[in-house]
């Protein structure tokens, strides 16, 4: 059973101030070239790295922050990728792929950064070493289709399309049993050598029950402590938070237009956000606690294409930077911003609120919203008027917070932008269902996948 894991990479490099404008121009050229190739359905430069799922370059400077940064920040270039982990040293393999297959892009972009090897000194090793220096650990990482390599995603897409055409171009008698059609599909695929790979089943990650139960038990043991902690935070921190009144109408037009310029071109979109953690030990610790929970759940439970119940995310991650004072959030998702942020509120307001309520000027919360775990429903204490709301459930102000902490992404790449995460997972189910011995009911369900 094949299964290649996906890993996140993030590397930060200081940009030379004298080369900032040049870098911006070059990134814009890369963006436009990429878009033109994609529109023409032509191969892209990034496509040469066959193990690259998503990649983006972002210029991160003081201007990227809505709020005053907690520590001074320079002008940096952020490279973030999601890649197939190949070999024992998968990071090294990935960096080699990047610097050997995207050499021109890497050189063009990074010669605008401090400390990039001079022209005569550029080798595979020196380029890799440069990128390695800036690598930062990812705090929490989510993958919507664990174990699916880029190659596998493309293969299974082709398989789906082929079977779809086979089904639609043949006339099926209404009386034909589903099992017979299923068999006919299998014969059709068997007759085609390009689908020989379907003989091997794809590995699909299930929920990891044992560690999950252990985690649950630990949580229960710690619950009294957590409750005390919540009450402490509520009394000494949350009650003192200022009410946030920024609505979407109050957002900066120039920034919004810059963000919207590159949105909704394809059925997928990206989101990059930077927020400043609230000062003080308690808020930092609290952020870590809920981040850890998210990381644990992302690897144990959210392995079937839903992050905190949100069914449209391909990859997402949280990264602490600047001595843990700032948090970067990245995601790649289906649909548009409004839908995506709406899902955040509706499906996981509690999950998001517990993390981001520790950042500056997040809509005011009660108990970080973690008690409002009934998705989308503010919790009312029976017989009282005390409603657990706020945070992400404070819809208008939450949306304004999200937009105002979002920053422009200069270059964004995805090799399968016409597939939703649901399509990708469905395609794997098709591949795996193809060779199973199905009864009539199961065969009917299989056929419904087209």
């Amino acid at each position: 059973m094949c299964m290649i894991n996906q890993q996140p990479l993030i590397t930060l490099s200081a940009i030379r101030e004298d080369k900032l404008d040049m870098l911006k121009t070059r990134l814009e050229t890369i963006r436009v070239n990429l878009l033109n190739s994609q529109m023409a359905e032509a191969p892209t430069e990034f496509g040469k790295v066959g193990t690259l799922h998503y990649g983006r370059w972002i210029i991160l400077s003081r201007d990227s922050f809505r709020d005053e940064p907690a520590v001074p920040v320079g002008i940096r270039l952020v490279l973030s990728t999601n890649y197939d982990a190949i070999g024992n040293d998968h990071l090294d393999y990935h960096l080699t792929e990047l610097v050997t297959k995207l050499t021109t892009y890497i050189d063009d972009v990074y010669e605008c950064c401090v400390g990039y090897p001079e022209q005569g000194e550029r080798t595979e090793e020196s380029r890799k070493n440069f990128l390695k220096k800036g690598i930062i650990r990812t705090s929490a990482f989510y993958n919507g289709a664990p174990g699916r390599s880029v190659e596998q995603i493309h293969q299974e897409d082709a398989l789906h399309q082929h079977i779809w055409k086979f089904l639609t171009s043949n006339k099926w008698n209404e009386q034909t049993p589903a099992v017979e059609i299923h068999r006919a599909i299998r014969q059709e695929i068997d007759a085609r050598p390009e689908f020989a790979w379907t003989k091997e089943k794809a590995g699909v990650q299930g929920i990891k029950w044992l560690p999950l139960i252990a985690y649950g038990a630990l949580f229960l043991i710690l619950l009294p402590l957590i409750i005390v902690w919540l009450i402490y935070l509520f009394i000494f921190h949350e009650l003192w938070d200022k009410k946030v009144t920024l609505a979407q109408s109050g957002l900066d037009d120039t920034r919004i237009n810059e963000l919207k310029k590159v949105e909704d071109v394809f059925p997928q979109n990206q989101f990059t956000q930077v927020a400043v953690l609230k000062p003080g030990f308690a808020r930092h610790l609290n952020f870590r606690i809920w981040m850890m929970r998210t990381e644990v759940l992302a690897s144990l439970v959210f392995v079937k294409g839903k992050l905190l119940n949100i069914p449209t995310i391909h990859f997402a991650r949280w990264v602490l930077i600047d001595k843990n004072n700032h948090v970067l959030f990245f995601s790649n998702f289906d649909g548009n911003w409004e839908q995506y942020l709406g899902d955040f509120i509706d499906q996981s307001g509690w999950g998001l609120t517990s993390i981001f309520s520790n950042t500056i000027k997040f809509p005011r919360t009660n108990f970080m919203g973690v008690l409002g775990i009934i998705p989308g429903m503010p919790l009312t204490f029976p017989g009282t008027k005390f409603v657990l709301t706020g945070g992400a459930y404070d819809e208008e102000h939450f949306l304004a917070w999200s937009r105002s902490t979002q920053l422009p992404t200069q270059v964004w790449y995805c090799p399968y932008r016409h597939l939703s995460i649901k399509n990708i997972n469905n395609n794997t189910n098709i591949r795996n269902g193809l060779r199973e011995n199905l009864n009539e009911e199961q065969a009917k369900i299989f056929l419904k996948r087209f």
Binding site: V265, E396, K422
Partner: protein, 476 residues
């Protein structure tokens, strides 16, 4: 429950004016701001509000953001209106969201597009019949000329039995605003007022973004403080609310190619069969695309065309039709109102979430009084729909429905199925198939090479202020 201030709210939000046989929408331009304000001050008393008794005529007025600017509305105050309203229906990004490309490109519009004359306000004149509306308009004209000039007129009317030109019964699932005095409708159609009227709490239990008066102008004392209690940080004085009891209106002129639609469907039917059989099959396909039979009977309840008008909105999908065998996932009504199957959420959550993306539809047809069918589908001249809807948040409601639910071919688990009526692109991106999938008990039936039969001819976003705010606007 919060009661709505009915005497402040323009009545078209709450009342479809079904008894009005003639609807004329005058798209107008301010020629003289001062004189326009005088007109507004006089006409404010004549605007039909929601507690008025409706007799022979109705009048409602909406403004574009250009219109408010023409009246001298302060830039800072302007900025507290929603972005969608301020920018209007035509921006590069919004074109992608709404899917207005090819023949529907705003540059080809008859009104509201970049090549057309600026629109400042819309006067909606309704009359029991053509003559009554005409007389009423003459009365108004004497008052608004020459302060305002008419740029374009849209001439709409309801078709008999609430049908639209393709032949379907329309407007069967409408929200009922809580606190509006209307009888609760049940079946998830009772919606918090803040989804439709500014200054009230919405389905998230918060106040929608409203138009605060941040810089004093005109006679602010006419206005109420904003309901959320937002105040100036320095002075602590609460902002007056220009949005209170107001709402946003979306208007789109949609030309319908009735002949193309039925012709396309008939081409999908079994060749060689007799005309009657083919017509029945085409009607079945059309019903699969709509989710209702032409007479309105929902597919989840009626597997055969009952052949009569059925007004029934009391149904869901989860238990009745989880597989889509009755009503396809891609059907128009299943997309734009997913009821109890919102993504994969549990039923109760789905119902909650659906309520956050509803619109109050206010539609009229234009062109010949023609109701299409498989047997008869060639109208004389251009026919179409004046699609209109009210909502408090254009982005979360109208635009969300149009983009996320109708245009997106990735809706739910689908791969390449746009909304068969309002989502199909005329000239899609290279290599992209556009299909309609009809789930069946074994192999799905697929209609490939879907074509667009609806063309956008014009559109705009309007703000419908409360009666008091219209009086206030006359003072700025």
């Amino acid at each position: 429950m919060t009661e709505l201030e009915l005497s402040e709210i323009q009545a078209f939000l709450l009342n479809e004016y079904k008894e009005m046989g003639c609807s004329k929408y005058y798209l107008m331009q301010v020629k003289d701001a001062a004189a326009t304000k005088i007109f507004l001050a006089t006409v404010a008393h004549g605007i039909t509000h929601a507690s008025a008794t409706i007799t022979r005529t109705c009048l409602n007025i909406g403004f574009t953001s250009n219109g408010l600017k023409q009246l001298g509305y302060h830039e800072t105050n302007m900025h507290s209106f929603s972005r969608e309203f301020r920018e209007g229906m035509v921006t590069e990004h919004r074109q992608r969201l709404l899917g207005d490309f090819d023949s529907s490109d705003p540059s080809k519009w008859q009104w509201g597009g970049p090549a057309n004359e600026r629109i400042d306000l819309m006067m909606m004149v309704f009359g029991k019949d053509e003559a009554t509306a005409g007389d009423f308009y003459q009365e108004l004209k004497e008052k608004f000329e020459p302060a305002l000039s008419v740029v374009h007129v849209l001439d709409g009317k309801p078709l008999p039995n609430n049908r639209e030109h393709f032949g379907f019964r329309d407007g069967l699932s409408q929200p009922v605003i809580k606190g509006s005095g209307f009888k609760p409708s049940g079946n998830n159609n009772d919606i918090d007022p803040g989804e439709f009227v500014l200054g009230y709490k919405n389905e998230y239990n918060v106040y929608p973004d409203t138009a605060l008066l941040k810089v004093a102008q005109g006679k602010p004392e006419l206005l109420e403080d904003n309901a959320e209690g937002l105040a100036d940080e320095q002075t602590n004085i609460k902002y007056k609310d220009v949005g209170q009891n107001g709402t946003y209106f979306v208007l789109r002129q949609l030309q319908q190619d009735v002949n193309g639609f039925w012709g396309f469907l008939k081409n999908q039917t079994a060749a060689g069969a007799d005309e009657k059989t083919r017509n029945e099959e085409a009607t079945m396909l059309a019903a699969k695309m709509m989710g209702r039979w032409p007479g309105g009977a929902p597919l989840v309840k009626y597997d055969k065309d009952p052949g009569i008008d059925v007004v029934d909105d009391n149904f869901n999908y989860l238990k009745e039709d989880a597989s889509g065998d009755k009503c396809p996932f891609g059907a128009h009504i299943r997309r734009v109102n997913p009821r109890d199957v919102f993504e994969e959420s549990p039923q109760k959550v789905s119902l909650n979430l659906t309520r956050r993306h509803r619109i109050m539809r206010r539609v009229r047809s234009y062109g010949e009084d023609f109701i299409g069918s498989a047997a008869n589908h060639q109208p004389n001249g251009e026919v179409g729909l004046l699609f209109g809807c009210f909502n408090a948040n254009i982005s979360k409601q109208f635009e969300f429905i149009q983009y996320t639910w109708a245009n997106s071919p990735k809706f739910k688990r689908l791969y390449a199925d746009p909304d068969p009526f309002i989502g199909v692109r005329e000239d899609p991106e290279k290599k992209l198939q556009q299909i309609f999938t009809i789930p069946q008990s074994t192999t799905n039936r697929v209609i490939t090479d879907m074509q667009s039969f609806v063309t956008v001819k014009g559109g705009g976003y309007f703000f419908f202020p409360s009666i008091t705010v219209i009086k206030f606007l006359a003072t700025i």
